[in-house]
């Protein structure tokens, strides 16, 4: 007699098992198929093309009514299996029907996870799993707004599908970049850019707080920073959970999923399970490739043949037109691993291979995935790649060919991109000069003027020579920012402006960084360059700053911090001193020291106490002295005409004015000033980055002094008559240094490179340029003159920096 097989769930896995079974032996079983969805098996992964309008539902049906009939399968669609009586071997349908079985196959798939936040049960809050969800999304049009929570595969396919219908879509993603499980930050950046180009709004690191409704229907999503994102539909695509309810109820062994062995048998020898509902060897599944392998094994087991399910590497692609990405294997960095990174900024291509023991163990690709199968094959086979290591990243077509061009970033610049800022020379003009016969750097300087002033663009000019002349021109060695790049500091700074680069991942992609995410050397430098280039735009990345600048205090060797409030021009009041004394008492400050910059240092403050001590100091009107910053530090002064019989001008007053204008500014390195009232120089202005000596006739402004590892006397930049001129020249000089110097160079180092004469031309002789520099400085200051202590002590900014995540010391003490 034919045995009876009952299948629970007409999904992709059970559907494939059924096909395999019927193909091998159409008469082995009498099959009954239950499905909770009111339809047979369709290709669930193609719901996305249906949503975007690239396919119709009919095109994705895998088994039609005719197919089931021809194969003698009894269909009970729209009916859920309510129970299984394993002792009697009968299945109980929702309507109470009892059906006996010899073998039972679970293919119940999984349930989308719905975050149980307030409002999750409102009408219009859906997941993305089945045709009903898809149809609801398809009912949206260009007058609707939709929020998608989850920037993974499903969320992005949902977002792109609706965006293709003109819907205004916002993706809210909790992690730092999209598809973080499959992509690294660099590829995530490219993906985000492509989605933004499609009109999708992407918010990363955004934590959803609650869903707001009106008359029982969704109205908006509220984030935990209070932002409200209005929406007519909210799609939650935040993960799936194996659907194990029924299996659990009937007493099968269940962990995360229904436990199965290598033959896909559950803890009951007459019951098998396949698909997303199973757990095999600790793993659960979310992509179809392994499910098809399971289906094949299940069919063979049902036919009493021996087969074994083996887990294999899986790969991911995103089904969004125009976003070509591929990810497979393991791509975390590690000591025993090596990365090969290839970027083609012009084409928006990123490829990264992770190698271990001469084998590829992971691959991430964006923009050009044509070779993904070749790489994936090598991951699965564990191919030894030692022989092709050099050219591996270029794919199969290039084996034995030549590697890519390191000059790609400059090659991709348009002709009108400005290369030499001093003389206003574009790339096109330099190319013209080269084509007219200037085939050395000196010749280009002489004929086009490019690179002939401050010299900071010679790196780029040289690259243009290299691109234009090809092999004829030998590229000189240059000092690069770090081992992550072939570019120098100067080149990077210029390219940030020329290519309008506004984030660290963007710089790394466009300038062809050879590490996936940079290192502790390049990241702080890039962060400063962004902060300087784009004031007022949200480019500052705290995580790329050194600890002192991140927590606005100086770390000491024992891990405590020092706190230095600002005292403009070195002037304080009894009230301020009292507040400092009180704070020192209250927070048990072990050392109170007067600094060389004419202010007071509270040393040995615990990190957790920083916001509280800042709060107290703030109450007395004090703000951060930024004694930790690569930025403006102090303006040291003497008492000047107010008290001193030798004083020629109000040096204290001028110092206060300058410090008031300059505090808060970031620069390549720290910047210290002094204003002294007469040539006796009590404020030691002659060894400062900028020093002003007051004389009867006006103000001498000296620059480039040093009194640290190097000892250098500051040199005269200019003598001016009025206080206002002195302030303007100071601001202009500071801005010139901020814009031009390489990160971690003090002014004297920068001046040694560009020449004092050039600096004089810029700020002393060229009055228009002086005004423009001062103007740019003041513009930037609007955004950076924010007391970081007040923000942290009063507004809770970066609170995570100051409190432990958890404290188990107290628990134990109880």
């Amino acid at each position: 007699m034919t045995q009876k097989l009952i299948i629970i769930g007409a999904g992709m896995a059970s559907g494939r098992a059924l096909e395999q079974l019927l193909e091998a032996d159409p008469n082995a079983y009498d099959v009954t198929l239950f499905n909770a969805e009111p339809r047979g098996n369709y290709n669930r992964i193609m719901l996305s093309p249906v949503l975007s309008g690239e396919k119709t539902y009919d095109e994705i049906v895998t088994h039609s009514a005719e197919w089931y009939e021809a194969n003698g399968v009894t269909c009970r669609f729209g009916e859920r299996v309510a129970n299984v009586d394993r002792a009697r071997k009968v299945v109980v349908a929702e309507n109470g029907d009892e059906l006996p079985y010899d073998k039972l196959l679970f293919g119940t798939g999984s349930n989308p996870f719905i975050i149980p936040m307030p409002g999750h049960d409102l009408e219009g809050v859906i997941a993305y799993r089945d045709l009903e969800d898809t149809e609801l999304m398809m009912s949206m049009n260009d007058s609707n707004k939709v929020v998608v929570i989850g920037g993974g595969l499903l969320g992005l396919e949902a977002a792109a599908g609706m965006a293709a219908r003109g819907v205004d879509v916002t993706v809210v993603h909790i992690m730092g970049h999209l598809m973080e499980r499959q992509l690294d930050e660099a590829a995530g950046y490219l993906l985000r850019k492509a989605l933004v180009d499609k009109g999708i709004t992407v918010r990363c690191q955004a934590n959803s707080k609650q869903i707001l409704g009106e008359n029982g229907k969704v109205r908006a999503l509220q984030l935990d920073d209070g932002t409200e994102l209005p929406c007519d539909l909210l799609v939650m695509a935040v993960g799936i959970r194996p659907n194990v309810k029924l299996a659990q109820d009937v007493g099968l062994a269940v962990g995360k999923g229904i436990h199965v062995d290598d033959q896909m048998l559950t803890s009951d020898a007459d019951i098998l399970a396949v698909g997303e509902c199973v757990e095999h060897d600790g793993a659960i599944f979310g992509l179809v490739a392994p499910l098809y392998d399971q289906a094949k094994v299940a069919a063979q087991t049902l036919l009493n043949e021996h087969a074994t399910f083996v887990q294999k590497e899986i790969s991911t692609k995103l089904k969004v037109t125009g976003c070509d990405l591929f990810s497979a294997g393991d791509f975390a960095e590690g000591e025993d691993r090596e990365d090969i990174v290839f970027r083609d900024p012009a084409r928006g291509v990123y490829r990264r291979l992770v190698l271990k023991d001469n084998k590829i163990i992971g691959a991430v690709m964006y923009g050009d995935t044509a070779d993904s199968n070749w790489f994936f094959g090598m991951i699965k086979d564990g191919t030894d790649i030692a022989d092709m290591r050099e050219t591996l990243i270029f794919g199969p077509a290039y084996q034995g060919g030549t590697p890519m061009d390191p000059l790609a970033a400059v090659a991709a610049l348009p002709d009108d991109a400005e290369i030499c800022g001093c003389n206003g020379i574009s790339k096109g003009q330099i190319v013209a000069a080269i084509n007219a016969g200037a085939n050395t750097l000196d010749a280009v300087k002489a004929t086009s003027k490019a690179g002939s002033s401050c010299g900071s663009c010679v790196g780029l000019v040289t690259q243009v020579l290299g691109i234009t002349l090809g092999d004829e021109f030998k590229m000189p060695e240059k000092e690069t920012v770090c081992k992550c790049t072939d570019q120098s500091h100067d080149d990077v700074r210029k390219l940030i402006i020329a290519k309008q680069l506004k984030s660290i991942p963007q710089i790394m992609q466009e300038l062809d960084w050879n590490s996936p995410g940079g290192c502790h050397v390049c990241r702080p430098a890039l962060n400063y360059y962004l902060v300087c280039a784009w004031p007022g735009e949200e480019v500052d990345d705290g995580k790329s700053r050194f600890i002192n600048e991140r927590v606005h205090a100086n770390i000491q060797k024992d891990g405590t911090y020092s706190v230095v409030p600002r005292m403009l021009g070195g002037i304080t009041t009894p009230n301020e001193l009292r507040a400092i004394a009180d704070a020192a008492d209250k927070f048990n400050v072990p050392t109170v020291k007067v600094t060389g910059g004419q202010r007071i240092d509270l040393l040995g403050v615990k990190k957790e106490d920083l916001p509280a001590i800042w709060y107290d100091l703030g109450e007395a009107g004090m703000m951060s002295g930024q004694a930790y910053a690569k930025g403006l530090r102090t303006v040291k002064t003497c008492v000047g005409t107010d008290h001193c019989r030798f004083g020629t001008q109000d040096s204290t007053g001028l110092g206060i004015k300058i410090e008031s204008e300059m505090w808060g500014a970031w620069s390549p390195h720290k910047f210290k000033l002094a204003v002294t009232g007469c040539p006796r120089n009590c404020a030691e202005a002659t060894c400062k980055d900028l020093g002003i000596i007051c004389v009867d006739s006006g103000y001498q402004i000296l620059v480039g002094g040093a009194a640290g590892l190097d000892l250098l006397e500051a040199e005269l930049l200019i003598t001016v008559k009025t206080e206002q001129e002195a302030i303007d020249v100071s601001c202009a000089f500071y801005q010139l240094y901020r814009e031009g110097a390489q990160y971690l160079h003090r002014p004297y180092k920068w001046i040694a490179k560009v020449g004092l004469d050039w600096v004089k031309e810029q700020v002393a002789d060229d009055l228009e340029n002086r005004a423009a520099l001062a103007e740019r400085f003041r513009y930037s200051q609007q955004f950076y003159q924010v007391d970081p202590w007040a923000e942290r002590a009063r507004k809770g900014v970066d609170a995570h920096e100051f409190t432990p995540l958890a404290d188990f010391t107290k628990v134990a003490a109880e």
């Binding site: 791509f331 990241r523 995580k543 790329s544």
Partner: protein, 112 residues
Amino acid sequence: MTDFIDIGHITDIPVQGARLVRTQRGDIAVFRTASGNFYAVDEYLEDKAGPLSNGIQHGEMVTDPMRNWVFDLATGEAQGADEGRVATYDLKIAEGRILLATAAIANQVAAE
């Protein structure tokens, strides 16, 4: 079986950032990397490095703020020419929560 204890939500640690967990036997730094991985390592390597939670986090590494040693967060090993290893602890993520192996705070368990 390893036991785990809930120490917070994943968003309590910023991407490429770290937070401290204080225990009876010393501080532990818990990191969150750009690739979404989490690691727990000792905050200090005695006389050599730390406080690591204050370092710059890049790739799956952290650079010590004091002497610029670079540590692999997965293995705890110092990279390059520097020699030393910080202890690492088991940690897992479930439903958005960060769970740290109770072994990491072992003394306290023993004291009970």
